[in-house]
Amino acid sequence: MDLNLTQEYVDFRAEVESFLEAHKDLAPNRNDRSVRSEKRLAWQQILLANGFAARTHPKQYGGYGAEPDALKSRIIAEAFSRAKMPGGISGQGINMLVPTLLELGTQEQKDTYIKPTLEGTMVWCQGYSEPGAGSDLAAVKTSAVVDGEDWVINGQKIWTSTAQFADMMFCLVRTEPDAKKHQGISYILIDMKTPGIEVRPLMTMTGYAEFNEVFFTDVRVPLHSMVGKRGEGWMVANATLTHERGMLGDPDAALSRLNSIADIMKQEQLNGRSLMENDIYRDRLVQLQGEAYAMKMNGMRLTTLASQKKSSGMAGLLVKLQGCELNHQMAELAIDVMGEYGILYEDSPFARDRGMWQTHYMFDLGLIIGGGSAQIQKNIISERGLGMPREPKPTTPAAQKAN
């Protein structure tokens, strides 16, 4: 246990900080979420050149080619956060597709897709989930059938968060309808401008359309658009699903959210008394602080394990389950503290931050449900983390056919 940085890392941090100081005029606003602004793309080029984006990706594909170093990654992230400057472009293309292509793509696929993805000029969306395939992802029904030189795709995807401005989709389709469930799936890349694709915004309980549905009607893509072989799509997708799980749950974010709630409690008044003087809310706040501290320290432990290239084990498996729940409970406290004002929403007069805590409360519940629901997370923790037995297969005829 030594939370001090060695000289090498102290130097590195200074280097990052002086880079940020020198380039601060070039950085776009970090709340600017627009995908293709010139300023963002230019900033991405600067970050790539200096190794603050795509740091460990191979040079030949536009990366920086550095050795993976979890601690340096953390130092970069913290320095950018302290400076309130935006880091490199992230998203499902960089985080999920690129690692997949590096591992399993053809040379042509690597040459074609990786560099523009890293540069931010090619934007991807993910086509995994379907209305009938949520927790049970292997139940995808969207079909792809060979016709001449093309795959012809029909079906529907859901929860595609960036579909409305993506250039491309990486997608799971069923190519062998008669094979066993997991063996009939292929992984395919689709140009979103292809005729027959319709993107519809998907409104959620928050009242905002954070996701989309994508409908395919006789969409034709060339045969060579597949990553891996026919019927290997399940394996290809799983190679990167693990990346996604690691992306969620930033422990520093939890503590900073907690501090926002503390500020609210100091500011909000009931009958002229600050709500921080309310023993019950304050006790709930400190309870959540204990948990947020535990999660932050768990996160630091994960950084060390990653930098040692050790398996993160249980400490890693629990992050999503506990992190989402913690965020949800923090939002709950904020709403309770605000009393009747806690239900104000959107552009209502008196609403605090456009009802942000209600949005958190609902969206965090969505995160508990989505991306591997809490139930699935608990299955994984018990089976992979604790070595408990899987549930026996059921004997229903439908199930027997499927297995």
């Binding site: 309980m205 009931l270 009958n271 009747e340 239900i343 104000l344 209502s348 008196f350 209600q358």
Partner: protein, 357 residues
């Protein structure tokens, strides 16, 4: 002794329920939420035809002369169907206040349909943002916040904390600020008053009337949550039988079954609590204040649990707008905070029992 609904009460709830199931179906609620006021007016007419708005109105004024229990059964049906209706404020709280004060004048104007009262009681519970009213002569000034029943109100019943008064919505000196809450099936507003003409209620027992009005409001919000949560449980069970994952209905997974069992086990006793709290308002005066607070706070907590758990059982579909489950979720969320959040209401319950000064 008979703890449960009698035949008349069962019939009342059934007829209101049957009516609302059709008249307040989700597609129509969506239209209302999107800004088309038709549904609220239609429901108001439909409920008037059934006679139910006058449930608490004394028979002398042409009402049904029934009790808070009957009102709670109606409110439960409204919550179950997330129906836009000013019932809680206009025909529950306001009528209870007027009835207690013996103000036959205003009761008569309500019975004739000429007057519909919104109610602002927040200031008697705990004031924020500088809210609070002062009366000077027959002019009232200050801010009334989270005034309920604004869908249809012609007048507002407000409180200075000590005195109950009515202002006309259209009168001079009233600035109305519409609030947007998560629950768009009902409308609440803030009123900024500057010397608006105030009509004091009759009688000299305004303190008692205010207490009974708030007690009634809280019982009705608990009933509304009970109805909404019951529907969310039923929807979760139905969805879990229908939806398949891993080649089985998800309702056959122990985790899902236990989530539904926990919802049911926690919610069913709430029904008895709401019945008793409502009954106590008219029949067990020494328990009226306590049970109203226990019902409001306990049902709010269980409602929150059911709202979350049912959404989880629905998986991603529960999170989208597609099934509209969130209308129930938000209605329960709004009921929790209106007329005092659970913790504030529990503190009042403790005070009432002499457990704290």
């Amino acid at each position: 002794m008979h703890f449960g609904l009698n035949e008349d009460q069962t019939m009342l709830q059934d007829s209101v329920g049957r009516y609302l199931e059709g008249a307040s179906e989700l597609a129509l609620v969506r239209k209302f939420v999107d800004g088309d006021p038709a549904l609220a007016a239609d429901l108001q007419n439909g409920l008037m035809d059934l006679g139910v708005p006058f449930v608490l109105m004394p028979a002398e004024q042409g009402g049904l002369g029934m009790g808070v229990l009957e009102a709670a059964l109606i409110q439960e049906a409204l919550g179950r169907n997330v129906s836009p209706s000013p019932f809680t404020a206009a025909y529950g709280m306001a009528v209870m206040a007027l009835r207690t004060c013996g103000d036959s004048d205003w009761l008569g104007r309500i019975a004739s349909g000429e007057v519909v009262l919104g109610v602002g009681a927040t200031e008697a519970i705990g004031g924020r943002e500088g809210a609070g009213l002062t009366l000077s002569g027959d002019k009232v000034s200050g801010r009334a916040s989270f005034v309920m029943g604004a869908e249809a109100a012609t007048h507002f019943l407000l409180t200075t904390g000590e005195q109950l008064l009515i202002v006309e919505r259209s009168s001079a000196g009233i600035e109305e600020v519409a609030l947007t809450t998560i629950d768009k099936t009902r409308h609440v507003v803030n009123l900024d008053l500057d010397g608006a003409a105030a009509h004091l209620l009759a009688g000299n027992n305004h303190g008692e009337a205010q207490s009974k009005m708030i007690d009634t409001g809280r019982v009705l919000l608990a009933a509304d949550t009970l109805g909404a949560a019951t529907m969310m449980l039923e929807k979760a069970v139905a969805y879990s039988k229908d939806r398949e994952q891993f080649n089985r209905p998800i309702g056959s997974f122990q985790a899902v079954k236990h989530m539904c069992a926990e919802m049911a086990a926690k919610l069913e006793p709430c029904r008895s609590l709401v019945w008793y709290a409502a009954y106590a308002q008219d029949n067990v005066p020494e328990e009226a204040g306590l049970t109203s607070r226990l019902a409001k706070s306990h049902v709010s907590e269980i409602g929150k649990f059911v709202a979350r758990t049912s959404t989880e059982v629905h998986g991603g579909m529960g999170f989208t707008d597609l099934l509209g489950l969130h209308y129930w979720f938000k209605r329960i969320g709004a009921n929790r905070q209106l007329l005092g959040g659970p913790q504030a209401v529990r503190e009042e319950a403790a005070q009432l029992q002499g457990w704290v000064a």
